[in-house]
């Protein structure tokens, strides 16, 4: 017991938060008689509160996953995807093309976000010089790869890790600048612009996985267009 008090005095002198029995030597001891509730009631209350908070947070998050707009089918969106100039739409920043491409009724839910996204892209392109097109494409590729890594917060490493390969392989294989842009942009045509927003830190592999289904369908269409250039 004396060892304990010695230790408490040494450390309590410098840092009072280490051992508290120091107080009870100087003042009268705490009386434990007449306690109405259980003596560990604060401890129990604290941990129960903490557990409730964590479980509540989990349920709120899962509830957030269940709410949302119903799915709609938009028939004319398919035509927009197969435009011949689809490869160069984003890079050249044709305002009206982007507006037509991005503003569709089924995206009302987050329309403001996507409009913000369009204006960002326009700002980004205003700063670009034509000779920087290639470096910007490379930058975007790097950023996508990096952000795809953020998506690997999830356990499904193989699935999302596999997404690196199509993108990098696609970019490395292309020879000319234009081919490279086309190959890169085939991942960033209309449904894939959501990939520019790197999804989430939460590893929602659907954000990588579902577009990849669309990617593969389109890459053939776009590669066909790009090859003819």
């Amino acid at each position: 017991m004396s060892d304990f008090h010695n230790r408490s005095q040494v450390s309590a002198r410098r840092s009072d938060y280490v051992w508290q029995y120091e107080y009870y030597e100087d003042e009268e001891p705490v009386s434990f008689e007449g306690l109405k509730a259980h003596r560990y009631s604060i401890v129990i209350g604290f941990w129960v509160g903490l557990a409730v908070f964590v479980i509540f947070m989990f349920f709120v998050l899962t509830l957030l996953t269940k709410t949302g707009a119903p799915h709609q089918e938009n028939p004319d969106s398919g035509e927009k995807r197969h435009r011949p100039e689809g490869c160069l739409v984003d890079i050249n920043g044709h305002q009206d093309d982007n507006d037509k491409a991005f503003s569709r009724p089924l995206l009302e839910g987050s329309r403001s976000y996507f409009n913000f996204y369009i204006s960002e892209e326009d700002q980004a392109h205003e700063k670009q010089k034509p000779e920087d097109k290639m470096s910007s494409a490379k930058d975007k590729a790097e950023r996508l790869q990096r952000s795809a890594e953020i998506d690997e917060m999830d356990e499904d490493v193989e699935e999302s890790g596999g997404q690196h390969q199509p993108l990098s392989g696609l970019i490395e294989k292309s020879k000319s600048d234009r081919d490279r842009e086309c190959a890169f942009l085939s991942h960033f045509s209309i449904p894939n612009f959501v990939n520019l927003d790197p999804g989430s830190t939460l590893g929602e592999d659907d954000l990588l996985y579902e577009p990849s289904v669309i990617l593969e369908r389109q890459s053939q269409a776009h590669n066909g267009h790009c090859d003819t250039h």
């Binding site: 010695n6 230790r7 002198r13 410098r14 840092s15 051992w19 508290q20 107080y23 705490v30 009386s31 434990f32 008689e33 306690l35 003596r39 560990y40 604060i42 964590v54 989990f58 998050l61 899962t62 957030l64 996953t65 949302g68 707009a69 799915h71 938009n74 969106s77 089924l106 995206l107 839910g109 987050s110 700002q123 980004a124 930058d139 950023r143 952000s147 890594e149 953020i150 690997e152 999830d154 499904d156 490493v157 999302s160 890790g161 449904p191 959501v194 927003d197 790197p198 999804g199 989430s200 830190t201 939460l202 590893g203 659907d206 954000l207 579902e210 577009p211 289904v213 669309i214 369908r217």
Partner: protein, 303 residues
């Protein structure tokens, strides 16, 4: 003596055996040191996100080293090899407390920096490279480390002032709220995007994709819960301890809470243990670098 009747019903202090402290300290030291070395040595991990994780791992390393060293000193003092009240020991105690405070404030700041970086990555994706340059990252990290060092010295020198303790607690609560807000906002936007992608033609039509999306939603919610849950469960008990010694030092209920102090310290140390698992080891690039570092036989060609 006459205090024995009062102590009979009291809450005995819960002691955590030294091997537990040592194991937790050494394992967390090894993990965090691995992260720091991997980020520093590998060129392609020199990006803002990995720099912030490296900083977090460095703070955790400092905390582990300090705590393990303190336990070693206590063991030696118990065995009689060290003088408890000598000036070198008390000075060393001061230094260790400063380092612990510094690592605590630093790891919370690193969490905040990581959350802000992720936020910018998602919501300002196109301008990310302009917003978060390596120079700015270095400036932010320098600011964090300087601030932590200054705060640590101040806190230990002036710990008796309640104002410092209140600042500490307020800092913790504000950081927690900010991190919570950032991540929940990112999570909500991710949900909206997922729905929009699913709403596009060709996506989300068949049942398997619905189920897959639901599965990944659950995983996202679970990831966030683990991130927050670990932070709150590991840090909150110690903070409530600080609040209690400010507010009710003489209350018997509060004293029973305080008797669990060593358990709360072990919880804090175990946060340094699970941090790499939550943040760093989930990045495939970092895992890949680890594998090269640990299992590569020829060091010259590995990194």
């Amino acid at each position: 003596p006459n205090t024995s009747t009062a102590f009979r019903l009291s809450c005995p202090e819960v002691k955590v055996p030294f091997p537990v402290f040592f194991t937790v300290g050494i394992v967390s030291l090894a993990e965090n040191l691995l992260v720091v070395v991997a980020v520093m040595r590998s060129r392609n991990l020199h990006s803002p996100m990995y720099c912030f994780m490296c900083s977090l791992a460095a703070f955790n390393t400092i905390a582990s080293v300090t705590k393990t060293w303190e336990n070693l000193m206590i063991v030696l003092a118990d065995a009689g090899h060290l003088e408890r009240r000598g000036p070198p020991e008390t000075d060393l105690d001061d230094v260790m407390d400063s380092l612990l405070c510094m690592s605590f404030v630093g790891s919370i700041s690193s969490f905040l920096a990581i959350a802000v970086d992720r936020y910018i990555t998602i919501f300002h994706a196109l301008r990310y490279h302009n917003i978060m340059t390596m120079q700015r990252t270095a400036a932010i990290l320098g600011l964090i480390w300087t601030l932590c060092a200054v705060l640590a010295v101040l806190m230990v020198k002036f710990f008796n002032f309640k104002f410092i303790m209140i600042c500490f607690i307020v800092f913790f609560v504000v950081s927690l709220a900010a991190i919570c807000f950032l991540y929940v906002y990112m999570f909500m936007m991710a949900r909206i995007h997922a729905k929009n992608i699913a709403a596009l033609p060709g996506g989300g039509r068949d049942k398997s994709q619905h189920q897959r999306r639901w599965g990944s939603n659950m995983r996202g919610a679970l990831t966030l819960t683990i991130l927050f849950g670990a932070f709150v469960v590991c840090w909150a008990p110690f903070f409530v301890h600080l609040v209690i010694i400010t507010v009710c030092p003489m209350n018997p209920y509060c004293e029973c809470y305080r008797s669990l102090f060593e358990l709360h310290v072990v919880l804090m140390m175990s946060h340094a243990l699970i941090d790499p698992a939550i943040y760093a080891f989930r990045m495939a690039e970092l895992r890949h670098t680890f594998r090269k570092m640990l299992f590569c036989s020829d060091w010259k060609f590995c990194l």
